[in-house]
Amino acid sequence: MDTSPDSVKAGIRDIFPMLLGTAPFGLIFGSLVLETGLGTIGGQSFSIFVFGGASQFVAVNLYGNGATIVIILIATFFINLRHALYGASLAPKLETQKSRERLLMSFFLTDEAFAVVSRFKLVKSRYFWGAAGAMYCNWQICTLLGIILGSQFEFNASLNIGFFMVPAFLAIIIPQMNKLILINCGMISLFLSLFMMDFPYQSGFMIAALLGITIALIFDYYISKVTRTSGRR
């Protein structure tokens, strides 16, 4: 897909399935906030200002266990490091936006927003704001609901809540995997992540992705070299 639609509505429509997937996380985060004694304002402030998903969970857990601020900040840094890849990948696609707008956009660059907008070679502002804005509002509402309703939310522990995001991510990446290099890259990254999932602060995901890309590029280089050589004969 070359250019995203220039419409807020299209952005909201495309991220909608992700909103359903992230809603349980927001609710659980809200109820977790009460358990750790952060209070309504403290908990909601986390979602309003940090807007970091996984890093919020880890920070609240560490805070509840009495960790120092330095430890929490180090954890935050490593958990969010993969967002550096998102920013780098998205930068060429936002060439029509001014620096100030890009700066603001980077605040809203979550896994879900990135998954939706990264499908396009050029991303229009309205589309980005529709998708990212809907994600932000959804996260705030779910956090607040979790705080208000608290322990009334009883999720079955054996139900893998994290999995609810997987169909959404797969539905986005599968149509993109239309070239051998993309299939190789996806398969290698997935395979490596299985061995690196226990790395500290979720750093294994980023390392698996970086290695997956590198190996896929090397593989592609040798395939094209062999093709060129056999073509000359």
């Binding site: 550096a84 896994d111 698996a208």
Partner: protein
């Protein structure tokens, strides 16, 4: 520890990581190799996020045939050609059904 100091520094770190890479890569001309590398980031990162949730949902290795997550992902992949919403719906329905059936 003041919670608002923690929130302030977490906001700065999270925002800085996202903003610096976006602004730096916006201001430089990228080589062909870097452009190719970055074009693979979405598939690579999203695949690595999905892997453990599909094949090691409990954190350890188990036969995928016995996992509701595996069947739900397979159905999502097969239905993906018909659009995102049908694929996501089918995946979640299969996962919940599999879970109810005791997978």
């Amino acid at each position: 520890m003041n919670i608002f100091i923690l929130i302030f520094f977490m906001t700065v770190i999270t925002f800085a990581i996202r903003a610096v890479s976006l602004l730096v890569f916006s201001s430089i001309t990228l080589s062909t190799l870097t452009t190719r590398f970055l074009s693979l980031v979405p598939v690579a990162v999203l695949s690595s996020l999905c892997g453990p949730l599909i094949f090691k949902p409990s954190g350890y290795w188990s036969n995928p045939i016995n996992l509701a997550e595996f069947w739900a992902s397979l159905v999502t992949v097969l239905v993906a050609r018909y659009g995102a919403l049908p694929a996501i719906t089918a995946g979640i329905v299969v996962y919940i059904t599999g879970y109810k059936l005791g997978f």
